[in-house]
Symmetry: C2
Subunit: 352 residues, 2 copies
């Protein structure tokens, strides 16, 4: 993600994610009120601990955490739970990868912090353990699990039949490429759940929002697939103009993957969590027109860091100038393409 708060920053260009999070707010509130069982949670109730896994730097994580905190407070009131001689305190754990801009995150969070609420930053991949056992009462992750722990190895291997030569994303048009991504997704989701299982207290909730595809729809047929493919086309154009190495472009794939519905079964197979909610939510921006400006800003903010890391400094400006031009000249009707769908899942860590 692009840190700071400049015109191309994630914080100023995450309205799509924000809309999705707004939509999830009501669902989260409902889930916490219905599913959080304070009396059977094995945990000291005087400090309630919440973590956001893959928080990035911006206002989305703050809104979500505030929503959870307010709902938990309400739940304490409803259950008439009093902390003797004291206030209920919250400990909030903001997790993201080591290269996340935690300095910006802390500055953003500090402006909107609650009383009796203490925040910390947790650097590290959420596909590993990042917190001690039995730390968290509610874990949350939103629009983060489509970022794999890495690009599947074979996808960047010239000698492999899974080499993703002609695309920068899993288009679902080449079976070997899809299989490589599927294997990675399954491993990653298993690792994520395994780590969270240890970090959550028994009775704790894990709330997950993310994106998936209907079983019959390849990524290449969705508006996101088409839009991302066009970034790949621009990279190829830059290679043809001699600005980038052709080989480097051919070996580039994103660690990004939207699973098909059937692949989400891996969530259900984990025996240490019970499934409390498992449903599709409608993205509130699904009906809105997807303008070229919106798409260009969105993907610039999202891919900036990855592209700079792989291709080096100075590529991003040129790439997204070309991207804006291509979007304008191709005049694709993104609205008519297939949609990427959203899941909302709530798991409860079983009390043994």
């Amino acid at each position: 993600m692009c840190g700071g708060d400049g015109p191309h920053s994630y914080v100023r260009n995450s309205s799509y994610q924000k809309a999705a999070i707004e939509c999830a707010k009501g669902k989260i509130k409902e889930a916490v009120l219905e599913k959080l069982d304070l009396f059977h949670m094995r945990s000291d109730l005087s400090t309630f601990k919440v973590a956001d896994f893959g928080c990035s730097v911006g206002s989305n994580t703050i809104d979500t955490i505030q929503n959870i905190i307010e709902t938990v407070k309400l739940k304490y009131q409803q259950r008439n739970i009093k902390i003797p001689q004291n206030h209920l305190e919250f400990h909030v754990f903001f997790n993201d990868k080591l290269n996340n801009d935690f300095n910006s995150l802390f500055k953003n969070v500090s402006r909107s912090i609650y009383k009796h609420c203490f925040i910390v930053g947790v650097p590290g991949s959420f596909y590993d353990r990042v917190l001690p056992r039995n730390t968290i009462n509610i874990g949350h992750t939103s629009y983060a699990l489509h970022w794999l722990s890495k690009v599947p190895q074979d996808v960047c291997n010239k000698k492999s039949s899974a080499w993703n030569k002609d695309s920068i994303v899993c288009s679902d048009l080449v079976e070997e490429v899809s299989n490589a991504y599927k294997v990675q997704f399954k491993k990653d989701m298993g690792d994520f759940l395994g780590a969270r299982e240890e970090e959550l207290v028994p009775g704790g909730l894990l709330i997950m929002s993310g994106m998936y595809l209907p079983n019959s729809v390849p990524m290449a047929h969705t508006w996101k697939g088409v839009a991302i493919d066009m970034i790949g086309d621009c990279l190829v154009d830059m290679a043809n103009s001699g600005i980038l190495s052709k080989e480097k472009v051919e070996l580039f794939s994103l660690p990004l993957y939207f699973p098909h519905m059937s692949e989400l079964e891996v969530v259900k197979q984990n025996e240490r969590f019970s499934i409390e909610v498992f449903e599709r939510v409608i993205h509130p921006m699904e009906g809105l027109p997807l303008t070229n400006d919106f798409i260009a800003s969105l993907y610039r903010a999202v891919f900036h860091g990855l592209i700079e890391e792989y291709f080096g400094d100075g590529v991003v400006d040129e790439l997204f100038d070309r991207y804006a031009t291509k979007l304008a000249t191709c005049s694709i009707d993104f609205q008519s393409r297939d949609k990427v769908l959203q899941y909302f899942i709530v798991l409860k860590h079983n009390v043994h």
Copy 2:
């Protein structure tokens, strides 16, 4: 502090602090082995929680934390404490002010992290609460408490008799200035202990290293006092050259204060902690020659951020060029000046 790892960064110019921390290592080990009472600590022993308050960005905090972790492990072995079916895990809380460079800290820490040890960053002034109640088993602070929460108000007030017009530090030569700093120090130390009292579990240890002056010695007579006064002289020179505003220089004082021995009584007066250790330690660099280069590098790294924040960008280079020249031409024998002394204090949070 100057973040990052460039030539003027704190991380590359904190050898003085490092030497002091090396010296404290043995003392910390001794204190943890002798004073930590695992059986009477009101806390889940499967996760041991350590915090460093005022950690900055560098290797000093990492060395200290590793020392504490190794000693706690040894203590668990000695007491034959086993965590059923699991390993002992550590949760380490690195605290510093919001403007600390946590991104650099995380990168530095991630290179030397232990297995079963989870780290978080805690932004916020340690003169306030920064963690929930009953979080920490061992709290530590080293060479941080001489940074006051703020410059005492009257010291920067032209109309006050405590206006510190002719110095940038509390030289102890003007009684009203000294009193203003004394009041602020007492309040700050009280706030620090009050906050830690809540954050430490009953039975938890608070380990404090820092600097003080013998009752009879004014700051102006110590090598640090002389060296810092010379920075003030350079600021005045820059004002006289028209580079800085004269008024701005006259209104500048550092939020820095070394208490006299008698002022440390405030630590003993807190009834919620028992005094386990309260002693002077000899700084291992006390006998070494204090070279001009060393002094210039030390204070550039330490004051960089404060000076830039107050006077704006571009002042630091010029100031420390002038400082190096002044140090060279004045040829002061720093070695012959009075020394700032070091305290090592261990408190135990009373079990009620």
